[in-house]
Amino acid sequence: MKTVIKRLGFFFAVVLFPVLAWSQELQTGTVHDPQGTPIAGATIKVKGTSQATLTDETGTYRLRLNAGDVLVYSFVGYKAREVTFNNKADLNVRLEQDSQLLDDVVVVGYGSQKKQEVTGSVATVEMEQLTEVQAAESFESMLQGRVAGVNIQLNSGEPGATPTIIIRGLAAVSRDDASAVSEPLYVVDGVPIISRSSDEFAITSTNVLADLNPSDIEEVVVLKDASAAAIYGSRAANGVILITTRKGKRGKPQIDFNVRNGVNMVPQLRDVAGGVKEREQVLRLYELYAPYGVSAPGMYTDVTNPFYSNSSDWQGYLYDTSLTQDYNGSIRGAGDFGQYSVSLGYMDNEGILFNTGFKRYSAMTNTSFNALNGRLVINNTLALSRTDQSRTPDALSSNFSSLLPLPNSPLVKGADVYGIGYNANVNDRIRFSPDITLKIWNDLTYKVSLSLEYTRSMQDLYSESRRTLRATNSSGVGENANLLFQNTLTYAPKFGDDHSISLLVGQSAEKIESKITKVNSVAAAPTLSHSVNWSGNNSIGSSDYTASTLLSYFSRLDYAYKQKYLFGASLRADGSSKFGQANRWGIFPAVSAGWNFSDEALFAGSDWLESGKLRGSYGVSGTTWDNNYLALGVMDGGSLDQYSSLLEISYGGISGFTPTWYDGFKNEDLTWVKSQMANIGMDLSLFNGKVGFIVDAYEKLTKGLLLTTALPTTSGYNEVYRNAADVLNRGLEFTINTSVGRQSGLRWDMGLNFAYNQNRVVALPDGNADIIKTSTSGQDFGSIVRVGTPLNGFFFYESQGIYQTEQEIPVNPNTGKRLVSLQNKKLAVGDRNFKDQNGDYIIDVQDRIYAGDPNPEWTGGWTNDFTYKNFSLSVISAFMIGRDVVNSDVLGRLNLGKEFAGSGALPNFDNYAIWEKSGDVATYPTLNPWNDASQIINYDSEYIEDGSYFKIKTATLSYRLDKKLLGRIPIDKARVYCTVDNIATFSRYSGPDAELMTVGGFDNSSGYPMRRMVLFGISFGL
């Protein structure tokens, strides 16, 4: 019986199908995007039937159709289109991009919002556009000059160095001389990540974020104002950077490769007096200033010794052109089952200085599975990465005397005498974050996410001194672990077309642990070993552990009426283990409102105004500090002294705890650093989106920055931490985007952004008394925090030139004693003439005056993209205006001590106006190395310079190979390009590079200039 039915079925199939098919004709059509590029994978359905098909790679599809059939064309990212089939022409369709879907959703804290409904100050950067035209180790460096008010400085030329990012002005201060940076919070796919290690727990100095491969990032969103950031509560005061990684897209699997190779070229290096010039300079200094009986070392006087008759170009020897390689590959796709994305990356950026470089290995997989008809989405992200930074063991030094022979000289052949050793810095990160989203019913979504993140950094250092033959060997491991558990519930009901409302409630619990283990040994004889030998007296090991937890409840409400009147509010409560019971919880509220005025009737029919929005917000967010146990009053069990003796630890064999005299005692009053920020802004889009204009004005008051104030010595304590300084940052931000030309012809896209910021300390405790910071460098004096001046402001001695005659040195009429200069220096002709501000005839800390502001007034960027047919050229510039800096690099090199001869290279004195004899018009006072106290100091108002610069950072010329050119090669798209990085800098700064500066305005180049890079690359997709 069964066979009969089967056969009948076969019969009907064979006989009847052609009959049915006859009434419908097989038709062929194509689907293109507005630029005329074929769309592969677009769905075409015949309305009212189950007939459907997909387009192939050339955008072609085939369907059997009857006249009058209605075809529905759809593709992700494009507006669906219905076409009634009447004749063949109807079958070739162009789909319009759906801006509502693609561009207009912005990722915000714990969710996303329609761009039109956003009320906070939020900036989005599409990373793919950046990675095409820029090459950098880390995504943050690529953001430089892209977002108004986000000041990014690549302040070291060393591969793997950490750029500084300051959003809307500096709001951090350190207790000592070092300049603190107000770090934003980094959130990857909804999970806050470890972005740095606190100083005590940092093993390597490698940029922690450099292990995120920029090619894996879809977009970066910067939450600048409080209404956007406050939902991240206690860590959001310095802004939040949301990173969304790339996911698979519907259509056929996308396989992409990007390969680039290039060279790093050595820019201009330090000026060095070589050979005879160095000899002359040294002998001249001895002739002029050496005390009786002191004569120059033999290497300068013994001209017959071939070992010292060199003119070695150490920089030329140690700096060399190097290679950069960058390879990225990925496969991504999506369907009804979910999506997948797998990517691999390898970057090797050799440094221009011998022994330096940076490598990154990264792997990331992201998969989502849809279940229960799409009501349940399970998402897994696993990211693995390693960065490997090599450094020179002796702190990047290339500063050897030019009289010494180079290692490749026959004189020293075979003896590797300089800078033996290695300094390997390896950072590993593993991050696994699964999350589950359940649509409980239409409007209600529940999401639970868990994230485990582990970073490990290792440093192995071995260095050998050629002078003493002592070897230092150290090894350290730092580990961070981050556990996060997060639950959110989103309710977004629809009440008709006029109202849209969205309510979010959530909870998160987070634990961050850090551990460090270090061992080191100093061996009298070289031991060429990677392992640290635990040898008797001179090896000391240490380990430390710290942990903090955070428990948070948060909620946000967004309401829009007719998409015209917008309102948002958020509230977060954070509890932190860092505080005493009383101050444990902090509340961080924010409110915002927006008005899409372009939707008002007034502007109806206006052809120039596409959209316009006014925004306003106010909110409170916070920050804490690194020391997890500060408020609890950590006790100190003492440590071994320099001879490994227990003198500080025990007495008569009994050990005990004392307070840590530097951090004060248990302080339940310590509380959150809270930042109150008000923001008003306007977004305008004109002439069909050809011109975009964004302006924001903000005022950010950061209250209670943690600082130590000195306690009277009679208390026993050195200092106590307090929520001491209030800092106000005020600023304006402007962004202008224009797009000129047609898609097919010449097109010019321009983006210009610039931001003004003013930084002021507005309140200090004890009646606004100055806080003089602890100096870690001993002889120098710590900087001052003073009301009315900016953070890191220069408090310098006021230079009045140089004493040219004895008579110029002031004499106290009451005592007959001469003015005493710094460090009780007896002044002489040729010394710096500092102004004795308080008239006590002693130059000391009291005579410092406010002399300059290292915080930039204006920062910004300017990008230009030109496209003509398949060619495109992109030029990226960044600038900074109105900043005071000090060329401490040259000051350090001119600051000569008694042992200066032979210890290093000297600058060519001819290039500097140095005082030698009465009447010299000089910038620099006498270089007498035998002076009681050096006359060359950083804190001298004479040396303050304008640190403004304009930099053409990167230019990329690329050519897109189209299908015709590729012919039969099974490649969908391909692109060849050339990128030049660090093209030109325009500045008045006398030092190597006005960008290589610490946050505090001192030169940070330390002999490692920023390389110039030329890269050639090809990227293609299958």
Binding site: I440, A509, Y545, Y643, S645, S650, Y651, P712, S715
Partner: protein, 508 residues
């Protein structure tokens, strides 16, 4: 259905919240917080012991680890600078500029001398004692009442001791008797400080035993009744309350806990402190890991080869001065102390070998006699320097009582104690009965007996007689405080009530 799902979700949230109650309690693993630090008896033991350790470092001198205001890498042995350097008896044979400056009372000009003007570690000792006195009473776990009384008394003793020592160095000093006191304290008159020391030492003595179980060296490195009483007596001496001083010292003598050891037993007394003569010293012991190396011990500067690698002497008493201080030795070589305190090294032997010591302690030239009262093993290294830092010993008690009695015109009593010390040194009895002569002789005997033990300058300053022995200090200078050490600049930070000693205001 939907409602049930919502309820489940809310229930999950509630459960999560509930389980997070202890989530926010994070405590350090490798140290303790203040709340954890005062739990039981062993915490209390540690807290008081560590206060003595701070005081030990205070006497050695602070370093840049203690305060960033100084640049000194390691301690120099500041107790010598304060107690002996300016007595006029010392020279620096290798012409060390810093030591020479300190002999000449030039204590402000040189950066390297700045740390010895800084009293920070004294007040750190005081604060640690204040914390112990505040926290200990509440501790009950594994802490007997008897032990609690003792430890509280020890903290009280050490607090008074630190004030006393600082007052001898700086003169008028701030008094801090409360924990966590961050008020800017001004300087109190020296008399008020000594008055406080008298009262506090008396209170402490009540709670302290004469002796604890254990070796002498350990026992006498802590607060005992003897140490507290001697402290009280010293304070009485500063207050010129000789009757009280004499009475208190008599108590110490009557206790029979201490005795004058023989000259042959001096090595134990000075090199280890394990001696019946020790009353209070600061503990060092290489075997317990509590030792000094190059920095941190005055022996670095006293000793040379064969004890240390040093080939010359940094600190010494010139030969003529030795003969002047010890006239009996100059006359007939009778004073055994010269051979016990001084050595002549055979400098003709190479510095890389252990140089022999001449049989005659004064064989060498004027500037070549090594002060060898405190010694370490002969090994040409700076390591294992663990001689204790003496504060009080029995000979000091006898001579102090002799001075008090002499001033009270009780000459026989004075002579009895004076002669006990003289007798040990192998000298004949002193039998003059003229009061000023006896007082003078007692002072000279103190100089002979206690040389290099940080008494001499304090004796002279107490009596206002430093100018007689130090040619760089005039009588007028001494009247306005030249005998005291200047107050460091750091003490003025955040303290409007701080004042500089009058002399040092004008002698920067």
């Amino acid at each position: 259905m939907k409602r049930r799902q919502l309820i489940v979700c809310l229930a999950v949230l509630v459960v999560i919240t509930g389980s997070c109650r202890n989530w926010l309690d994070e405590l350090p693993l490798n140290t303790v917080t203040e709340d954890q630090a005062w739990q039981n008896g062993s915490d209390a033991e540690g807290a008081v012991a560590i206060a003595f350790a701070i005081f030990r470092r205070a006497l050695a001198g602070l370093t840049k680890d203690d305060t960033p205001a100084t640049t000194r890498n390691g301690a120099w042995g500041d107790h010598f600078f304060w107690g002996d350097a300016r007595s006029g008896d010392w020279i620096t044979p290798n012409n060390d500029g810093d030591w020479q400056a300190s002999f000449e009372n030039r204590l402000i000009q040189r950066t390297e001398l700045e740390p010895l003007t800084n009293w920070r570690l004294f007040y750190r000792t005081i604060e640690q004692c204040n914390l112990a006195l505040e926290e200990l009473p509440a501790i009950t776990e594994n802490f007997s009442e008897e032990r609690k009384t003792q430890l509280l008394a020890e903290a009280r003793f050490l607090r008074a001791m630190a004030h006393f020592y600082a007052a001898r160095v700086w003169g008028d000093i701030p008094i801090n008797l409360t924990a966590r006191n961050v008020e800017p304290l001004g300087r109190e008159p020296l008399d008020a400080v000594m008055r406080m020391v008298v009262e506090e030492a008396a209170t402490a003595a009540e709670g302290l035993p004469w002796q604890y179980e254990g070796p002498r060296k350990t026992v006498m490195s802590r607060g005992t009744k003897g140490a507290a009483l001697v402290l009280k007596a010293h304070a009485h001496m500063w207050l010129e309350e000789y009757e009280d001083a004499s009475a208190v010292l008599q108590q110490v003598i009557d206790s029979k806990v201490f005795r004058l050891v023989t000259v042959d037993e001096f090595r134990a007394l000075f090199d280890t402190g394990d001696s019946d003569e020790t009353i209070f010293h600061l503990y060092y012991d290489e075997s317990k890991g509590e030792y000094s190396d190059y920095y941190g011990h005055i022996m670095t500067y006293y000793l040379s080869n064969p004890y240390t690698p040093r080939t010359n002497l940094t600190l010494a008493v010139p030969r003529q001065r030795i003969l002047q201080i010890y006239p009996d030795y100059a006359r007939d070589r009778s004073d055994k102390r010269v051979a016990a305190f001084f050595e002549s090294v055979d400098f003709s032997v190479s510095g890389t070998e252990l140089r022999p010591i001449h049989a005659d302690p004064l064989q060498n030239g004027e500037r070549e006699i090594m002060f060898a009262k405190f010694r370490k093993p002969k090994d040409l290294s700076y390591s294992r320097m663990d001689a204790p830092v003496p504060v009080f010993r029995y000979a000091d008690v006898l001579l102090l009582k002799a001075e008090a009695d002499a001033r009270l015109n009780r000459i026989p009593e004075a002579l009895a104690n004076l002669n006990a010390v003289r007798q040990r040194a192998g000298l004949g009895t002193y039998d003059r009965i003229d009061q000023p002569l006896v007082i003078e002789e007692v002072l000279e005997e103190r100089r002979r007996e206690l040389i290099g033990e940080y008494y001499r300058v304090y004796d002279l300053v107490r009596l206002g007689r430093l100018h007689e022995f130090n040619p760089d200090i005039s009588e007028r200078d001494e009247r306005i405080g030249a005998g005291f050490v200047p107050v460091s600049r750091e003490a003025f930070a955040n303290n409007p009530n701080m004042t500089q000693t009058e002399y040092w205001q004008f002698n920067q």
